[in-house]
Chain length 331, copies 2
């Protein structure tokens, strides 16, 4: 990873999840020595024991997506859901969000209204207030329309660390995956689809099953491939997915083939994947199916390392952390 | 404020502080109905009583400045100081920061290193860790080099609300003002100056005097004019500045005249202005002078409303919230 030569520049791929993103983040992180009493700093949210039985959970997410509006949502909705869900997967109840905007001069007031209306709607529905913010405006051409950064704070009793998966656990998906990617890309690549973005807050769903979960993540940037590899690495376990149980609709698979992008790397913005002890698996699936009938067991955790797909023919295929050319600015 | 017509667009001035910024922020805010138990939501940071004698303070700030590097600092330093100081002026001890980056494809790795090194340096000096983050990369031309959003959480016993100023208080500046603006603009307008940005964390200074302060703010966007008007409005008081005691160096005044920008609107990134009961004024000034020998009383709080400059000739001149063409992207 000694690639920091003088003429090196940041490549587009480094922002799209996957291996190059992880390298870039590593180079940024190494400058920060102070740690305080925080934990889980490589997780979706960092956690701080407040000493009263509660942990503070803190997270942030930047959104500069293209297009801004897509079937099933807009940048305001996913900016809210992204941060709420990062708190939720840690086992936290979100208590407040911040909203920072960078807007291009000349941006239509009516589009800003629509986006802020989406932000407000998610806030009202979840009861999580937007409590602080910042608004900057740049000259034309200095930002692509609008960028939103949301940060969030939540409170949690027990933290769900994504390193908690154990051999014998099963892997559960809260619904079908990849719909956010397919809906958003339909606008950019101009194909027809009935698929709508899956973006939604997951706070209630995760709270309903939190006590049973040994690990939990939302498959955003880098998709299922990225988060399962992260869980497997952190927990030092092997994860086996079953081909028959993959959480992808036929149309998602077809568009994945059409675009030549691995479906395992397709982001979702309103789904989570969790590991659960086998004895509670059916109970958790049943509860989750009240929210989304596609919730199901998609694989299992074993001793070993790596993430594999077990095909219907019985062979094992490695599912790697996404690498190479990924599509930027979809989440 | 019913200006939301269909063809209306966001104007550059709305991002530079002052009246148009306040209008834009008002239009954004009105979409957010949920409040929870948060307080001080129009202050530098929102506050939430944690029920154990402590308040959580939460704030955020976006930085897309031009130039990125300037005498006395860079975007990394002010992104850190801006958020630390927003927590500090609320009376909070900062406990953790988040760092979200949007980087333009092709941005030099070495510049990113320098900026992250500045971020790390402020974190180490103040002992406040960067605990969570996000990094996105856009195609060329979709962002101007780099944008940084920092959010921060802090803990406070007593909150310093900026509505707490009382008639009889004096107004104290922690040092000379406007040096950040003059240093940064020197790069953009190509004039020679020895002035360096005042950007620095204020955590220790404010903690040293916090118990004496009735109101406290850092004069960033919109400068002294903006914050004094905010304090006067919220506390329903009048503020009188004394011409002889104005906290501006001669060179700052000269460059203000040269550029035709009111010095009262010049941002600082490492100063604060506070109101203090008269009996503690000299004690507070003495403590603050250990950090910066230019700390002094600059005015007083009276019954009434508005902010005024009392000239040496004895006349009163209104100091209004900045309006009209302000310079964007300096803080």
């Amino acid at each position: 990873m000694k690639k920091i030569e003088k003429n090196n520049v940041i490549e587009l791929e480094a922002g799209a999840g996957g291996e190059k993103s992880n390298e870039l983040i590593g180079r940024i992180r190494k400058n920060f020595k102070a740690r305080g009493k925080w934990k889980n700093m490589k997780d979706d949210g960092a956690t701080l024991d407040l000493g009263n039985g509660k942990n503070l959970v803190f997270t942030t997410d930047a959104f500069i997506i293209d297009p801004l509006f897509f079937p099933g949502g807009d940048i305001g909705k996913i900016a809210m859901c992204g941060t709420l869900n990062d708190l939720a997967v840690m086992g936290a109840v979100p208590v407040g969000l911040s909203l920072s905007l960078v807007i291009e001069e000349g941006f239509p007031q009516s589009d800003l209204e629509k986006i802020m209306c989406s932000v407000g709607k998610v806030s009202t529905e979840t009861g999580v207030p937007v409590v602080t913010g910042d608004t900057k405006v740049t000259e034309k051409g200095k930002i692509d329309k609008i960028e939103i950064t949301t940060s969030g704070v939540g409170l949690a009793g027990k933290i769900i660390s994504n390193g908690g998966a154990k051999p014998g656990d099963v892997v559960i998906a809260s619904g079908d995956l990849g719909e956010h990617a397919v809906a958003l890309l339909s606008q950019r690549f101009n194909y027809l689809t009935k698929i709508r973005s899956d973006s939604q807050p997951l706070v209630k769903e995760i709270q309903a099953v939190a006590k049973y979960l040994s690990a939990c993540k939302d498959p955003t940037r880098g998709g299922l491939a990225e988060i399962l590899n992260e869980i497997a690495e952190k927990a030092k376990v092997k994860i086996i997915l079953e081909e028959d149980s993959l959480p992808y609709k036929k149309e998602i698979v077809a568009i994945s083939n059409l675009l030549g992008i691995d479906k395992f790397a397709f982001p979702s913005e309103g789904r989570f994947v969790a590991t659960v002890g086998e004895k509670n698996a059916q109970r958790v699936v049943k509860i989750l199916q009240k929210f989304n009938k596609e919730a199901k067991v998609i694989g299992r955790v074993e001793r070993g390392k790596g993430v594999y797909l077990k095909t219907n023919l019985g062979s094992l295929k490695l599912v790697e952390t996404p690498r190479g050319k990924l599509i930027p600015r979809i989440c």
